[in-house]
Subunit: 235 residues, 2 copies
Amino acid sequence: MATELRELITSGEYPPGSAIPPLPELMDKYGAARDTVREAISRLTHEGLVSPRRGIGTVVRQRASVDLSYMPNQTVQTWPAQTEAEKDTVVHCTWVDSDEHIGKQLEIAKNVPVFLRTRHQTKDGMVSRLHDQWIPEQLVEAIRKKGIDLAEETEAGNIFELLKIAGYTPTIVTETFSTRMPSPEEKEILSLEEGVPVLVISRVTRDANNKPLETSYMVGAGDRITQTLTVPIKS
Amino acid sequence: MATELRELITSGEYPPGSAIPPLPELMDKYGAARDTVREAISRLTHEGLVSPRRGIGTVVRQRASVDLSYMPNQTVQTWPAQTEAEKDTVVHCTWVDSDEHIGKQLEIAKNVPVFLRTRHQTKDGMVSRLHDQWIPEQLVEAIRKKGIDLAEETEAGNIFELLKIAGYTPTIVTETFSTRMPSPEEKEILSLEEGVPVLVISRVTRDANNKPLETSYMVGAGDRITQTLTVPIKS
DNA sequence: GAGTGGTCTAGACCACCAA
DNA sequence: TGGTGGTCTAGACCACTCT
């Protein structure tokens, strides 16, 4: 039954935004019990094809359109491509002690203070990416000496500029991409539907001396976020 | 119930590889019916936490370890990081007509012949990444003039070298990362368990004149594939 | 209020695995 | 063979949405 319904959906018989037949109808059509039908729908839900809505019906989801077009260097693209500006807000700032992973990324010791900025990248009123950013104490100090206290900054995205001002010009970034299913907390914050994975990016930014300036851990909504990188090929 | 079990798993009470209590036991413990317990386990399954195994039990999955370490330029990393060589085999070669998307990527017209190579990247006997690669006719011809027929090549990964020989040196690649749940076919080929997403990479390779040389669409198993890129920051 | 999906129950039978 | 999870049924009640 799931196979047949999937076929009807992908073939466009039930276009995105429309609803598939309600449970009682499917029970009749396939001569199956209610939970059997629900199980089939559950599979399609976890494949990201449909979204059951209480009181409304089971609607076919919008396709994550595959217009992965060429983009300039290091951009984040959200879709649908609307003109509304994205927001990038710092929701939390604090000093934490480096754990093993952070220490390794920043090439510093364990249990030393690092500055943690937690940011939410918002688009169309929905949080589409979580961004945790760790900055070594030394650099936060260097920035403070220039008269800027990171803890008071609520505008985000200018950290590279601040680092440059402080004498640490970011020169190279290393990004590692992976994917997984979201935790319940991430699902909540990112307003993710059932069966939507997250795009995980782990980043280290370095200066010309290969010294790590910051490391980030980003979790993006898989149905709204895509990231494009342009890199030269070593020859 | 799902919340409590999730807590027990993530806290390490049920470590990876171990089994959570069997259905009858959980029914007793929570005073719930069989299908109610199964529903809770189903949620954890689709979060990627556990894998029910008929005749064995419901085992806690191995963590996709987050040792996202620094890697050199443009590498693909699979884990667990074993020494066994990966294989990259061409499973299918054919001429197809360009559709709208491929035409856009390669900056050529629709309905002109392009060469399609379908590859399987294998690790430890499991296919871990699917790779469809489209190459414009002109370039396949240029390579053929150098005495190499792409259709007869079964070794993969040397296309960049061949292009260079043919006078089209690849200089820059643009990669777009996204994620989604696998189709049933992908799930089958990649041996994916329930609740494992795929990492999707759309790539365009260009030469020094910004002319597209090839475009690729790669689908990697989310529980085994990660990709690291190192890029310079434009200043 | 009528119609939608969400949860839960109690019981049955099937498929797979290990000892 | 006994224990595991997978599927299915029939019925009940709840929660939500629209008119």
